[in-house]
Homo-oligomer: 334 residues x 2
């Protein structure tokens, strides 16, 4: 078995040979603006609906990552992808364009990390040579599906997060040069009883902490073995909560713990507790983190994709919001 | 590479050591009624909402398959599951109960076959010893999400299918006795321009045909190498369409082609063109097909999970309905 505890390891660590990140206007005004491949200021992206705009973001981003890797779609064995929209409709329509065998995933905002973990298993398992993993989210499409159309002008509580508009794409390969995915931990669904669909950081923090501890314990590592342990989209509130939960364990992660959603915006932006959405971890990994790893400024990071398994119907029916988190360790190129 | 063309093969074919199938009232009055583990006549299943009823079906079915395999949840490495409800909420809540690392999937009605294909790769790849794969659908929850609440009494066109109420669960293992999954083909998203959300058989038939031909060609086989080639939920209309499309190729499948959805109901039942939904292929495989394979009455079958990647929002926005199909070959126990 290529497992230690609940964590799988890769004998031949899959290589992230190319990435692409497209970001929206708010993200394009944030601290990471210089790292993105493209910034799209128009939320409609020249399309008739926000949903079509999200699809265009995602589709153009897939074309861009293929171009950067100098690959044709026929050279990719599988697509692994998903998004926040019902029936993962963005991913489905992008897969229709690409005509590559498609494995549809749903892990809320953890979807892209789920796809990278699974893609690494398929490559190291010998079933694929190259995989295209992608995901997207869009502020307006997510708000109107999960909460209220933004046109309603609902009040914005300070702990609420801002759904990231953007798309991230990754090509994993068994050959080539780039950062390596060495380990993955698939998380369990955890539920601490949060019922407010605006308060997703709190819903996801316990799952993130559980998966971080599992990953470290399985590998016999401590936080100092990592340059950075970074969660997907807990936001500032959720990050604080995760730190507090971790302080009750033997791990004190204060120095190395950060959050993609919290990094995406500056304090001056009207984005509440920070970014959330599939694109939060996807575009931060595809841009800033990938470049830092490639340039060996970061040696080893743990990226913990976090998902609030929120459903408007289940919330209306009185259910709480469970969370999930999947972790991957990524190392600088050899 | 463990691949031939687009089809993956398993050096150590994963074994389906146990299955469980719960069916609803309509399915419990159909030709396969004696094969199910349990029949639930009340669409509410004693719950307050149809969604909670679906969850209870799915949850009880997971408990039953674990009991039949004499396994505790801690002995399962991964859950692979999904369903038709937005945010795959049924699978999420079942995973919350089971506390097993969870990989959420969405492939519409092909989801369970997607999970068996992927689960086989994770086992044969050496990342898991045992996997629990499951899925569900429910007539009332699907109708109100995808079309109209049944209480509205909408007209029922003859080509419309009946969403199967039920849940199927499977335990895949690298050890034990049972039918074997030997090959899998992940399909591409195909779109032939169907726009009527009632006409899903037509939306899925081209994808099914594409995947069947891919699977046969990759393995150098013809239909006579199979006792049965069975699609997930094309229904009678879709099955006829698939046969016609196949007649234009070198493969004439008339003798061996059938459809799980079409098999579930008798002509006398008011179920239109036949069954559809995640549970269509799941409960037919978990009951009738599994028993026939286990008793070696069937030697080798190809099961082709079919999914209509229908989304109410995209349909309202004028999009067509793409389809997808994934195929697995299953053989009798050694």
């Amino acid at each position: 078995m290529k497992r230690t505890g609940k964590t799988v390891y890769f004998d031949s660590a899959p290589i992230i040979i190319a990435t692409s990140a497209i970001a929206g206007k708010m993200e394009g005004q944030g601290p990471l603006k210089d790292y993105f491949d493209q910034i799209v200021n128009d939320p409609y992206y020249g399309s008739k609906t926000f949903e079509k705009a999200e699809r265009k973001l995602c589709s153009n981003n897939c074309q861009n990552v293929l171009k950067k890797a100098n690959l044709n779609p026929e050279e990719i064995d599988f697509l692994l992808a998903g998004d926040l929209l019902n029936q993962i409709v963005t991913a489905n329509f992008c897969a229709r364009e690409l005509q590559i065998p498609f494995i549809g995933l749903y892990g809320a905002c953890s979807t892209v990390i789920e796809s990278l973990a699974l893609g690494s298993m398929l490559i190291d398992g010998g079933f694929a040579e190259r995989i295209l993993s992608f995901g997207s989210s869009h502020y307006q499409t997510a708000e109107r599906q999960y909460r209220m159309p933004v046109e309603y002008g609902s009040q914005y509580p300070p702990y609420k997060q801002w759904t990231v508009t953007g798309a991230g794409a990754f090509i994993l390969s068994n050959q080539g040069t780039g950062p390596l995915i060495t380990h993955a931990t698939i998380g369990k669904v955890m539920d601490f009883g949060v019922i407010d669909p605006n308060d997703m950081g709190a819903a996801m923090a316990p799952a993130a902490v559980d998966t971080i501890i599992q990953h470290l314990n399985d590998l016999g590592r401590t936080p100092i073995d990592y340059d950075l342990i970074i969660t997907g989209d807990l936001g500032e509130e959720g990050k604080t909560m995760a730190r507090e939960l971790l302080r009750e364990t033997k791990f004190d992660l204060d120095v190395v713990l950060n959050d993609c959603g919290a990094m995406l915006y500056s304090q001056k932006q009207p984005t509440g507790s920070g970014g959330s959405g599939v694109a939060a971890s996807a575009i931060v990994l595809a841009s800033y983190l990938y470049q830092e790893l490639s340039q060996k400024k970061l040696q080893r990071i743990m990226l913990v994709g976090t998902g609030a398994l929120l459903s408007p119907i289940s919330t209306l029916q009185g259910e709480t919001i469970p969370g999930i988190a999947h972790a991957i360790t990524i190392e600088k190129p050899i």
